[in-house]
């Protein structure tokens, strides 16, 4: 299986199919996460992302390999942005290709869910009058 993993300053949303396409693949599933304009009814102006880059790349690689053990995939792509991102800008792109659609749909969900749980990347939300690091409450 081929994997393509990057931490980037700008997500290129057009490269998903270009990278995932493979002669044995009949299905391609891509998830793109972007900046939403509100969190819990508060207006969000922008987000800032910081990564522990060397570890984030290794952790994304582990997740891609775990996905390839669970499903029969031809290719996996995982890109995450760092820096300041405005509303509607893309921040993450993950995807997988497989012979049939079930595997790539399930793998794509696993990729983004596991990335959010484990990859050392942190998000700061900028509101009208405050800025806060997003941390799940116990």
């Amino acid at each position: 299986m081929d994997i393509n993993i990057k931490i980037v300053s700008e997500i290129d949303t057009t490269i998903g199919y270009h990278y995932l396409a493979h002669e044995e693949s009949g299905g391609h599933s891509i998830f793109i996460g972007s900046v939403r304009n509100s969190t819990q009814n508060e207006t969000v102006h922008e987000l800032f992302f910081e990564a522990y880059e060397s570890m984030a790349l290794l952790e994304m690689e582990k997740i891609a390999k775990e996905a390839s053990q669970k499903w029969n995939l031809q290719k996996v792509i995982m890109h995450h942005a760092v820096g300041t991102k405005k509303v509607k800008e893309p921040i993450v792109l993950v995807g997988a290709s497989s012979a049939h659609r079930e595997a790539c749909f399930e793998a794509c969900r696993f990729l983004i869910d596991t990335l959010k749980e484990r990859v050392p990347i942190w998000k700061k939300e900028f509101f009208e009058n405050k800025k806060v690091w997003v941390t799940p409450h116990p």
């Binding site: 522990y52 984030a56 959010k116 050392p120 990347i121 998000k123 941390t135």
Partner: protein, 80 residues
């Protein structure tokens, strides 16, 4: 040894890297190192989770840290 801090942990400590010379005796277990850091910066103990990365991999509390290792403190992640 140098410890890297990210996200809210960086704000709590006040900088991205801190050098620890004599305060911590190496080798030390990951769990004990975490306890030392929480003693030094109590607000770290109030986070919903706090992991330690040893040479860019998540470490368990029983692993041993030497002065040459790259250590990072991983507060709750929020990518994606």
């Amino acid at each position: 040894m140098r410890i890297l801090f990210f996200g809210i942990a960086k704000d709590i400590v006040g900088k991205a890297t801190v050098e620890f010379q004599n305060e911590i005796q190496f080798p030390i277990q990951v769990g004990a190192l975490k306890a030392e850091l929480i003693k030094k910066f109590p607000a770290l103990g109030e986070l919903s989770s706090l992991a330690i990365a040893l040479n860019s991999h998540y470490a368990t509390d029983d692993m041993s840290v030497s002065a040459q290792d790259e250590i990072a403190l991983i507060p709750p992640v929020s990518g994606g």
